[in-house]
Subunit: 424 residues, 2 copies
């Protein structure tokens, strides 16, 4: 398959090359050649052609932290104090979810992420088997972390999570999802550490999201959350810390020293008023997530890319912090690193998996074009995505999905009506 | 013209009514009836029909502060210290602009605003005659403020601005655009005050955008910028203050006392790292603007609506600040008030001008639907806009423009190439 006539390719390779008038040659699920349109068009003239006229190709975007089934609660409640929102609104509705609802909620999220150019996502939720089913249906690449917090949900225990690891496949990686230092027991966390050491599985954990959490953990363990994780050997190069808003300089040093990664969720952190993470100090290890769609309220990574570029500038009153290039790295190559997939995805390079997104630049708000990276970060939105290729397969072309989008949306609307009946 | 089968109408009327299964009847340039679909469909069965199935109708959005021709510099330079960005990048390019470039830059901005559901915009720039021409071409409603800062640009003087007032027409209002307390002389500002008193024209002025500006004005006049404007009688119910980031409690009281309005530009203020305005104290008088597209880098008011709802929550660590409803008010009825047009636009009500936008909710990220106001603020983006009606005329339908969008984009791309030649 030859994607030709591309206006630009923003490769995100190690030299951050931007190729004007480019083409990409894909065979099976791998990128075999990347270069100028003229040369590649002659070389691969007999292949299936995808016309990329007016398009800018970027690596498939990586959503490093979400809870995909929470589409079901999207817009159900907003603008409330955190504990009211959780205890009076989100948790009562969540308690009424059936496994099949979780499947459809996640499938809708898969559809939405495809619509916004996400090709890989990292999920944490109970009932991981339903999320697995949704990902297999959608064709996305994913890292699924079964939630672990047995005291909250008895099926979300370490034993089940360990068993679930056997579902790992070529395109779907399984991680361990201990919820957080406050919702897990120390024993659970120690077991997770051992399983991760034994299997190499990534540990995907919320840490230091709110000031209240830091207070609680200090009270319980006499240390801050990330210090605590380190003290029990759970801060390693396989650790993906979601949020990390309230981290001390000492903790930042620990993160860098251990090679841990951070999934920054700027929009969720602003909407829930959790705080502003010190991203300017964490930069290189930062990937981006939308968090659950009920605290966002969408899964558009383009919004997170713009938010991360803006928020830290104003917070530090320094317009040079977090450049467009750095923001885009967070959603591509840094995301790949966060998930241990940097050899496979995160850039458009020969030998990598064919996860490619075409963004349609023939729009008033993307005109004129001086610099494609600037537009991708500051002017684009997710609906500028025209075509999505994952592992060499086209999941969206000219904004038409391979999935039955109408059927999925109708089904989720019906689940919502039913949920409201169940909760009232 | 009957817009029927609407999933919801978010009226933004004085009771903030949201009508399920609605219809809107328009005759000429006015809304004549708003209500349930069944009743209106029977009553106006013989009229021209716009099918609004799956759509949510909202009042046309109001862009309270922009410099439309600055589309020409969109993405030319980002992430620089403010003075480097202005002096080394923006101003040298701006100095090379010819009147015809300004026309096309503004026309492109008109097109972009239509694409994002903006039906009225408030502009400040030199060469207002070119902007007037662009607005007449596009069919948008506008308030055009000829820039006044004779020391910067000799044609941008009070005399020319006063003459320009005669171009006011039914759909296009002319205001006075003294640039700022720092770029205008006191004499210019006093003349503007007198003309505004005499003619009733709105005074559209930048004020208190940066800390540096406050420092300068205090040094020059011994007071803060908005205190200074008040001291010379230029803070009235006709004053529209752009930005107002660094305002003291005393100045906030003055704004409320005089009935002045604020055009808040959250994304520009974050991108340029100007600061975070105390919107939670100003609320009722706040409208929204994108500022020039080179400090944003688009004109999508949906982004500003989400930004205003998020930014002040996290800045104050209070998730209840600026509700979805309040954020939407800023882009509709508050915007109308800021421009002295609250009797004519800003809500969907019988007797008002027919400025109506249909947003297509049949999208994965807008599913399921609990509350349309929540989705409009937290989940939508500008490209969800399907249909734009201004003064009873359809300017966009199913995202197809009445303007020649391809021709305009091509022309602006050519102007960009030429500008780069002129500047190098």
């Amino acid at each position: 398959m030859l994607i030709k006539n591309l206006r630009y390719i923003v490769t995100m390779d190690s030299q951050r090359r931007v190729i004007r008038d480019g083409a990409i040659f894909i065979e099976g699920n791998r990128i075999l050649d990347v270069g100028r349109n003229g040369g590649l068009s002659r070389k691969y003239s007999r292949e299936e052609i995808i016309d990329g006229s007016g398009m800018v190709a970027i690596p498939g975007l990586i959503q490093a932290h979400t809870h995909s089934p929470m589409t079901l609660m999207r817009g159900y409640a907003d603008d409330l104090p955190l504990m009211d929102w959780l205890q009076k609104k989100i948790w009562p509705l969540e308690a009424k979810l059936k496994p099949n609802d979780i499947y459809y909620g996640s499938l809708l999220a898969n559809l939405e992420m495809i619509s916004f150019g996400v090709t890989t996502f990292s999920d944490m939720y109970p009932h991981p088997e339903e999320i697995l089913k949704a990902v297999r249906k959608s064709g996305l690449r994913a890292v699924i972390s079964p939630a672990i917090f047995e005291e909250v949900d008895k099926n979300s225990n370490v034993k089940n999570a360990k068993k679930f690891l056997r579902n790992e496949s070529d395109k779907i990686k399984i991680a361990l999802g201990p919820h957080s230092p406050y919702a897990c027991t120390k024993e659970e966390l120690l077991e997770v550490r051992d399983i991760s050491e034994e299997t190499g599985a990534i540990v995907h954990i919320h840490a230091s999201e709110t000031q209240e959490e830091v207070r609680q953990i200090k009270e319980k363990y006499g240390m801050r959350p990330i210090e605590f994780l380190d003290s029990i050997g759970l801060l390693t190069e396989r650790t993906l810390l979601a949020h990390s808003v309230w981290v001390s300089d000492k903790e930042i040093n620990l993160i860098h020293k251990r090679g841990a990664k951070v999934a920054h969720c700027p929009i969720s952190n602003t909407k829930l008023a959790s705080g502003i993470a010190p991203i300017e100090k964490l930069k290189g290890v930062v990937s981006l997530g939308s968090d659950g769609p009920s605290s966002n309220n969408n899964l558009d990574i383009f919004e997170e890319i713009k938010a991360v570029a803006l928020l830290h500038k104003v917070h530090n009153l320094n317009p040079t912090l977090i450049s467009a290039q750095q923001a885009l790295e967070m959603a591509t190559i840094n995301g790949a690193r966060a998930l241990g997939l940097e050899e496979e995805i995160g850039s458009i390079e020969t030998g990598k998996r064919a996860d490619v997104v075409l963004v349609d630049f023939r729009k008033p708000h993307l005109t004129p074009l001086y610099n494609p990276v600037s537009h991708l970060v500051y002017a684009c939105n997710g609906e500028d995505v025209d075509t999505v290729v994952v592992d060499g397969k086209i999941l969206m072309r000219h904004r038409k999905f391979s999935l039955d989008s109408k059927g999925i949306m109708k089904k989720v609307e019906r689940i919502k009506e039913d949920l409201l009946r169940r909760v009232n």
